[in-house]
Amino acid sequence: MAAEDAGSLEDGGEDLDPRAALAADERGLLEAFDRLRPQGTLRWHFDDAVRRLTESPETAGRTAGWGGLPADLWERGRSTKASERVLGDVVKIVAQDVTEYTDRAVDEGRQLSADAVAELRASVRDAVRFLSARVDRLEASVDPLGIQAAELDLPAVDGSAWVDAAAGWTAGRSDLPVLMGELGDDGLLTALAGGGAMVEGVDPRGTVVWAADAAFEVGFGRIDIALAEVVDHLSSLPDASRGCVVLAGCVDRTDLARKVDLVDEARRVVAPGGTLVLLVTDQSAWDEALDPVVRDLLPGRPLHPETWRTVLSHRGVGGATWHRPSHGSVHAIVAEVGR
């Protein structure tokens, strides 16, 4: 080990990608942990910042070296006088020297520049890492228990009342995939896929995801299940990339700030002409179903459907309609995202 190489901040760690050979669900399982790193949280985009700062500076695109004098130069020079030939040789040597020198100088200059940039990038990367750690601590202080949804005995969201309506939600932009944030019963997911669009389900609960994966593995090639927090997953998607987003569960239990995050991200992701659907639990049914411990520990509770309409309108999603369920206790708030 050369002394100057010793002790890089990037030594070790996950330089290679040992996960490349794993199945997608296994990779998803391991990536769920990556997002728990201070700089891994997608919400703050630290992961992306550090990744870009850690990548090597772009050094490709060297200028083409000088190709040398033409091979037939001597032949071409035969008709000239000897003195002119000597002069030609001298010119040739000088030209070669100058060219080699220029190449060297350009290389060294480029290297110097890369070193200077690398130092700068390292400084910024350090700053981002310290910042990410600080944010992590602040978040931990706001939520000192850090209780996860999967730890709590939450009532399952029964979306069965909306199975028949699901095809209509996806009709506006059936050319784009549908996203279901948190999985309820399999029937709704299947109904969404029935519209012909690719359907992706996202849920932060490992057991739910793997059970759904197993259930849809056979015969449902158009359903893809991911293990992630819904808001994180939404934030990783491009603008206007989904024809319909259906959110359930997460919109009930999170606090108001996170509810607004969900709406904002969903609105960004739904393409014009697409549909945003919130499946929200009736407040009284929610309160009755919840264990007191769970109720105490949850950061939020469901909003009234009219409140949701107000929130949506406030965040730029107008014209949302409230649909009462034919059975069960889950209301649907449906909004077409403006073209």
Binding site: S8, L9, A32, R37, D136, I147, Q148, V208, W210
Partner: protein, 380 residues
């Protein structure tokens, strides 16, 4: 009176390097060698056993040998490199910075600095002692000319007897499913999350009642918190227990009541828990990284990849094959002797005496035969 003195940044109890250092001091003292432990930062638990390293300048005696227990960054490294006495680097592996960078940049920088210190100190060392061939390789790469491999001196042989009360409590609590055990600090290079992921898959497929106990101090609290959140997020928070600050007998009880030790660490300079598990007759499934292959040898299941399905399948296969398990357990019990752990203490003392020459046990000799490093000043 000349001696062989030990330098360690901090002397912790229940810490691999700390316990090794204390064990080595006992061995040297028992062998009639004057030996003190010098530290950079005092630990309240051990402050009575140590002295600040800068005080060594007043204590120094001709013929002294200074042994640096190196595993992390310390101002001691540069100070030792400038000392005229022969310095032995007893190397316990520096965790590469990259494992800490996503979690704690301060520690990452600390580790990167430690690697630079190794590169500065190793070429001047009279002897490098790696606790494994893996570590010896790092010493050589750092520039150490003379390197020997002597394993850690603090593995208890025969193993500590399990605490009966803890065994009884664990057996009462255990369900019908297999009990996985993982032992190691909660530090990112230990990759405990991979074990949790594998447990999750095991519970979702072959072993719905499988449980995991992770024994280790939270060396990086952010990482430790993430591990708990991860298990909770996967819905297996109840199946994963975190334990720390166990006595030797309580830890032995964990080994005695578990069905398998799963160790998926990415960087191990030795891996004391592997030897402890094998000594207790606990079969091992481990990822073949760092020194783990040389420590486990053929006495455990070594994995060249550790995807959650693969690990879960290997554990299930091992636990369902009594004959194979028995073969591994027998091989495991023989492993400490094969590694030379039973003579590690005497080998260490002999190696250090070799550097000291005959002077270390001749306190009255006015002209000790300790070789000074070339170029070192004759006075300090």
């Amino acid at each position: 009176m000349s001696g062989i003195h030990l330098f360690v940044p901090m002397l912790h109890r229940r810490d691999a390097v700390g316990e090794h250092t204390r064990a080595l001091r006992e061995l040297l003292v028992a062998d009639g060698v004057d030996c003190r432990i010098y530290i950079e930062t005092p630990d309240p638990d051990t402050v009575d056993e140590t002295r600040p390293y800068l005080e060594y300048a007043d204590d120094a005696a001709p013929g002294d040998v200074l042994v640096y227990q190196m595993a992390t960054r310390s101002a001691m490294a540069g100070w030792l490199a400038a000392r005229p006495e022969p310095v032995v680097v007893n190397y316990h592996s520096i965790t590469p910075a990259g494992w800490f960078a996503p979690w704690n940049n301060w520690i990452a920088r600390h580790q990167a600095a430690a690697m630079r210190e190794l590169s500065n100190l190793a070429p001047t060392a009279a002897l490098g002692i790696g606790v494994s061939e893996f570590d010896a390789g790092e010493l050589r790469a750092g520039g150490c000319a003379e390197v020997v491999v002597i394993p850690v001196a603090n593995v208890r042989l025969p193993p500590t007897a399990p605490d009966p009360a803890t065994v009884a409590a664990l057996e009462r609590r255990a369900g019908d499913g297999p009990q996985w055990l993982s032992v190691g600090r909660l530090a990112p290079n230990k990759a405990h999350q991979d074990t949790i992921a594998a447990l999750f898959v095991a519970r979702a497929t072959t072993s719905p009642d499988a449980r995991l106990t992770i024994v280790g101090s939270p060396a990086e609290p952010t990482y430790a918190r993430a591990l708990r959140r991860y298990a909770a997020g996967l819905g297996i928070g109840e199946a994963v227990e975190f334990a720390s600050r166990l006595s030797d007998a309580e830890l032995a009880a964990r080994y005695a009541t578990a069905d398998v030790l799963v160790m998926l660490s990415e960087h191990e300079g030795f891996g004391v828990p592997l030897v402890e598990a094998m000594s207790h007759g606990l079969p091992v499934v481990a990822y073949a990284a760092g020194a783990i292959p040389e420590v486990v040898g053929d006495a455990g299941v070594l994995l060249d990849a550790k995807g959650p399905r693969r690990v879960a399948a290997e554990v299930a296969a091992l636990l369902s094959d009594a004959a194979r398990r028995e073969v591994l357990v027998i091989a495991g019990r023989a492993r400490p002797a094969a590694l030379g752990l039973d003579r590690a203490g005497s080998d260490l003392v002999a190696a250090l005496r070799g550097v000291a020459g005959p002077a270390a046990d001749r306190p009255d000799d006015p002209t000790p035969g300790v070789p000074l490093r070339s170029g070192a000043p004759l006075s300090h």
